[in-house]
Symmetry: C2
């Protein structure tokens, strides 16, 4: 039985049932890849990646741990949930082709709310040319739970692991860092103000970059394509989800090397810089330990220095270089040398 | 900082951190398949299924929706979480080779508790020859959440979909049905008694089959191997997770056929029969609508009738046959004909 809420029709999920709901939510999704032989609707999806290898990455997103629906529109959430998983496939230098989406839903979510979530999922699938091929939908006693598995392919010789960085390699990043972290601080502050007095309107108009980077991140498909076009194969790569420092630690640990990063080369957006100072945080700290940037961090043979410098116009920046493991992991500021500390996101 | 609880050391997860925890939990898992090129530890797992197709199935398990830790040992839960996903790969006539495990953990779970969970996951991986290749571990504000993705392979021509049943085909099931449902009723009853008076010991010794079927199900790897050995390729197949009736509906809908099932042929274990009567439920209803059996339901060309009858010793039973769609979905008892009703599990 549907009810009217204002002008909006609200349909409880129970009206459709589990299988009806899946059918309803996935009815607009068509399969685009020849590799997607069978999508939603059987015991398993059937994929055929021929001679290419298959890449699999998975993420679990839990309401009020990973997202707050007070300031996150469901459409944005759906989009972001997909994008952050695709980011992992790009970070292997692969091409994402399929995703599965599992949802745990408490009874407060109506069919219309889920339609919004799936609008975002659909938009991400279109933008990144990815097929939705499966999932699981169940009730939840605890808000919204989203589990995504992203599946991609790559030629075996093109895969870039975290473990391939060599001494002397240049360390590069795409885009700019620290913005999503400040977007989160900003929205959390506005939420507190709103909860204290719901008549106060949020004042976010000047912070579109920060809020946009948090709520609607993009995966760096363009960076991967750019590097490929210029025949620049990174020696190691990772996506920046937990902050630059934490990801540098992963690369250094798995490649058994050290690194030297120059503070002045870390790309920080002017809006990030300004807001960090307003929050009395160092902009560098936001970049090093913020997280949720979904930029790519990669290392590359120094013989490609000139080609890399040409890519500066596309936002690819050289921020340092790989050194022997014994030299540690260092941040060079204009005046001093610091040991890098990996804080990352602390979920525990 | 670890604390002592009786003689048992209890370590908060925060002591290890996310990456330390993943390392700790997965340290005993080695990769067994040549197709598992890279497992845990990079942005994505790397698999190589060569010319075979890749099968992907995923499940989301939420505490107090799908399992109750009052009567579910963590080791059993870990085992079951894997097995029910592998069951989906077998139901495609595939061979499971890899899994990913994502966990959402509230702070009440210690490292030692997770060790137990992973003991079960490890046992299932060993028993079914499957590699753990990835996952995600995060905190949860709401108990335990487990998301599993199972990945398998099959030769394209061997895949069995839900959609291939033909009029005249024999309908078969492996094992026996309805036991897990009664195991659940039994444990729920004991839980209520225990919550009312914690001095009363549970009396489950005579119900090992029922409780075992609920807490430690197995996937029918043996049935798939048996059918392959006898060169019997099903025309359609599905695993019975929501009850026989619901799965028959899926096959009939996707194959655009009807079915006729004979009540007396539905395999029910004596313990199931006895307990159903004690609970004043029809044993047939338990089999039709119970769920969590993880047996295989499949259809097969009637020319193989004799071969199938030979497999009765392995617990393969012919329970009916496929009829034209217009004839509907019917249950024949000794005296009457009923329309089948698909109730399945109602999560919503």
């Amino acid at each position: 039985m549907s009810t009217e809420n204002g002008n909006k029709k609200l349909t409880p999920v129970s009206e459709l049932g589990e299988f009806g709901l899946i059918k309803h939510l996935t009815k607009n999704f068509s399969l685009k890849h020849r590799s997607s032989i069978k999508g939603v609707g059987d015991d398993a999806a059937v994929l055929y990646h021929q001679e290419a290898v298959t890449l699999v990455s998975t993420d679990l997103l839990i309401e009020n741990i990973h997202f707050d629906l007070i300031y996150t529109p469901l459409k944005h959430l759906g989009y972001k949930a997909i994008v952050v998983n695709l980011s992992d496939i790009y970070a292997m230098n692969g091409e994402p082709q399929q995703i599965t989406v599992s949802l745990g839903l408490s009874s407060r979510f109506t069919v219309e709310a889920l339609d919004e979530l799936y609008e975002g999922i659909y938009a991400a699938c279109q933008r990144y040319n990815v097929d939705l091929v499966g999932g699981d939908t169940t009730s939840s006693n605890k808000g919204l739970i989203i589990s995504i598995t992203a599946i991609g392919t790559a030629e075996a010789e093109n895969i870039v692991y975290r473990s391939g960085a060599k001494v002397g390699d240049l360390i590069c990043v795409s885009g700019d860092l620290g913005a999503a972290y400040l977007g989160l601080q900003l929205l959390e502050r506005e939420k507190e103000i709103f909860l204290a007095d719901s008549k106060v309107k949020p004042d976010l108009e000047e912070q579109t970059h920060l809020v946009g980077r948090l709520l609607k991140p993009e995966a760096r498909k363009d960076t991967i394509e750019l590097l490929r076009k210029h025949r620049l194969q990174p020696t190691s790569m990772i996506d920046i989800s937990d902050g630059l420092a934490s990801e540098l630690f992963h690369i250094c640990e798995q490649s058994q090397v050290g690194c030297r990063i120059y503070e002045e080369n870390i790309p920080i957006h002017p809006e990030t810089h300004q807001m960090a100072l307003r929050f009395r945080i160092s902009p560098t700290t936001c970049a090093l330990s913020g997280g949720e940037d979904y930029e790519l961090l990669f290392t590359i043979d120094p013989k490609y220095r000139d080609e890399l410098d040409d890519l500066a116009t596309y936002g690819i920046r050289v921020i340092g270089n790989i050194v022997p493991q014994a030299e540690g992991k260092k941040l060079y500021t204009r005046e001093e040398v610091h040991d890098l500390i990996a804080q990352g996101w602390k979920h525990f």
